[in-house]
């Protein structure tokens, strides 16, 4: 079928990658389901706490949540539900669908991460490139010290310091919350700092490597201005390795987001994930794990796609097969 219709090879590439995601997704569903059911703690005790001694209420809740069914049947119901976008009911907010609990948070966390990335990427790349170009000068050394500080100081320490200075002492920014532009400043900055530091370090390393290459020497020999040598030739060549690290960078962003959301009281997926773990609200935790897995799979796909589009050598190799 695919051979008779002339499908551009790039779509075949995307389709093939998406088919490859399905087994991973299935595995994630099984693993999260089993993990949640292997954990100590009965959902009924979560919902009723001390009042779970009241047998009538306990039985009623058990039936409402389908917990009296055999395990395999519960899994089928769960898997079918997920495919329809139904992640079941929350244990903590009794009777409330998980999708309802996550509805607003799903828009907030990606926005936060994107804003942080939008700040971290240009900042980090600039710092890294500058350090590489001015290697072993005071510029390079200063930048490296700042980098190491940004990577080593825990983000909650940075956050506390910034909140203390800007919100409590200077009173120009609010302490916490989400919704206005001023409330977004501190969380985005705190989230961006470790990522920017990491990107800067990578950029510096890649840049140093790129500057050793023959084509750089050729470009200089041709008489090209240094700015063009760096800006056009070297930079483009570090774009692909930087993007390949995008998965790691995003992973770091997500785990940092959990802490930032807690400190700044942002009702995003990170905070809900942490709260649900402590509250033993497993359906919510499971749903977030599944969501993040899907999210990461798509990030990787997007990165691979971007790399293939940017680098002609990769494009030729990938699409030929």
């Amino acid at each position: 079928m695919l051979r008779s219709i002339s499908v551009p090879p790039i779509f075949k590439f995307i389709l093939r990658r998406m088919m490859g995601m399905l087994p991973i997704l299935a595995l994630v569903l099984v693993v999260t389901f089993l993990a949640a059911h292997a954990l100590p703690g009965d959902p009924v005790q979560v919902m009723l706490s001390d009042h779970s001694a009241n047998l009538q209420m306990a039985l009623r809740l058990r039936a409402q949540y389908g917990l009296d069914q055999p395990l395999w049947r519960q899994f089928i119901a769960y898997a079918v539900g997920v495919l329809h976008g139904d992640f079941g009911l929350s244990f903590l907010q009794v009777g409330v669908p998980v999708t309802e609990v996550l509805r607003e948070a799903v828009t907030i966390s990606p926005l936060l991460a994107l804003a942080a990335l939008a700040l971290a990427l240009p900042l980090g790349t600039l710092a890294g490139v500058l350090a590489a170009v001015r290697r072993n000068t005071w510029v390079d050394h200063t930048i490296i010290v700042v980098l190491v500080a940004g990577l080593s100081i825990p983000n909650f320490a940075i956050a506390t310091f910034l909140v203390y200075s800007f919100a409590l002492k200077l009173e120009i920014l609010p302490v916490a919350g989400w919704g206005s532009l001023e409330q977004a400043v501190l969380p985005v900055v705190v989230l961006a700092i470790p990522s920017a530091a990491y990107i800067a370090r990578l950029a510096r390393t890649f840049m140093l490597e790129a500057l050793q290459q023959d084509y750089i020497r050729t470009a200089r020999a041709k008489g090209l201005r240094e700015r063009l040598v760096i800006g056009r030739h070297a930079l483009r060549n570090i774009a692909v390795p930087l993007m390949t690290s995008a998965g790691v960078i995003f992973g770091g962003l997500v785990s940092n987001a959990f802490v930032v959301e807690t400190i700044f009281n942002i009702p995003g997926l990170g905070r809900i994930a942490i709260d649900s773990i402590f509250a033993r609200d497993y359906p919510v935790t499971m749903a977030i794990v599944v969501l993040f897995t899907v999210f990461f799979l798509f990030i990787n796909l997007a990165v691979d796609f971007a790399c293939v589009m940017i680098d002609p050598r990769l494009r030729a190799r990938t699409l030929a097969s």
């Binding site: 703690g41 979560v46 009723l48 009623r60 907010q93 609990v101 709260d275």
Partner: protein, 517 residues
Amino acid sequence: MGEYWHSAAILALGLGILSAPGMLPAHALRVNVEADPATMDSIASSDKVANVILKNVYEGFTGERGDGTIVPALATSWDVLSQGKAIRFHLRTGVLFHSGRAFTAKDVKYTFETLLAPESRSGVTAEYLDDVVGAADVRSGKTKELEGVRIIDDHTVEIRFTKPDVLFPIYPIQFMDSGIVAELGPDWMSKASAGTGAFKFKRWRRGEEVDLEANQSYWGGAPKIDGVRFLIVPNLDTALSQYDAGELDVLDVQEAIFRRVLRDARYADQIQKTPRAQSRYLGMNQNLYAPFKDIRVRQAISLSIDRDALIRGLYDGAAYPLNGVITPGIEGFNPDLPALKYDPEKARKLLAQAGYPGGKGMPPIDISCTPPYKDEITYYASQFHRVLGMHVTVNVVERTTFIREMNIGKVAFFPWGWTAGYPDALSYLLEMWYGRSPYNRSQWRNARYDAVIDEAQATVDSRQRFALYHTAEKILMDDWVTAPLPMTAIIGLRKPNVKNVRLTPFGFEPFKDVEIH
């Protein structure tokens, strides 16, 4: 790369405009809560946060003041008939629901029937109706009509019970508008408010806040503030910072930040402190550990706890001594109980008399608890070893597992507590120590105690009833059934310009009298 920042900024700005503060009450009281409520439905709610919010929106027959006295709310008076097996309520006239409809007897019947109906998924409040005639039939779905409720006229309703229940007027049953489901459908909760209280439910932004606005036609007089905003802040340090920065007017100080608040001189004149209405005790299950059967062993254990040191050290002063099982601020509290003194000498002597000198011959035992109390049981374990020579192992168990093990009666030695459901000592005496109560975690049985409780439930005269409570408490204490543990404090902070915020053993009183200057 610059475009991304622009788009992000525009998106954030858009979000900001959508949730503009202009839509919120201007002079509203801002309080923190630690999580989203599980639900805003007074029928289904069982959790602490929902309670805090709903008691500003809904009312019952009575309310209580900070010192424990009961005041009439939606019932101005009641007559107890048939030795407590029936009560006739005279309802307050001129009360309007937030919808504008009048509050009458049919709303009382409707609330009861909705609580008992199997499809309502009601919370723990429905338990209070179990003794009403016909309750079992409604629960099982056999009928929708609650037989024991008789509407005599718009403002008089008579309720009959299967056994005497003189405390029925003070149960925390919140009356809801019987016309709301007919008007707005089963999804009414997100659109309207169905109570009679000083504040109306306005909006719930999940993860952010729950907004209430003032009820201008409240029967007790319109509130002087425009509303109440319950900000959802799970992290207590963040909440404290928000209070410092003026983003909160009242702070519900939870245990995580007790020390910070108590030790900071800045807050000294803003602190409110009161003992919590939670009876804490060290449970000793006599069926699971033979030495507990001997009263001298139980007494020795209780006497080897240095409660003053515990309050000063572990709790940093944020706790109060408890000498019995009834806590202060509750009707039936006995202020004359002898103080439990730390007496290691006597404890050792008692243990020797019981046949275990220096702890010899006592099998090892685990003392179990949930993670928040691990410091406390470590203290007990070391204390019992030091003073009595007992071999006690600390066993910290995850909460839901712990509760499950308690439900099947497997836990022998444990600190636990019971928070009073209503402002009367029977809440403790009945639920914690009565033979057949499912919450009798120590599994202690005493026929004389049960008889006193049965009698108290039928005693209408308060003074006589309290005397019976004191008798019951004395039976417990004389038998050294348990070692009472210090009550934790409830602590609140309020800004100096906020007046009439009152803290009771049950938490903040409804905010109807609050003024912000």
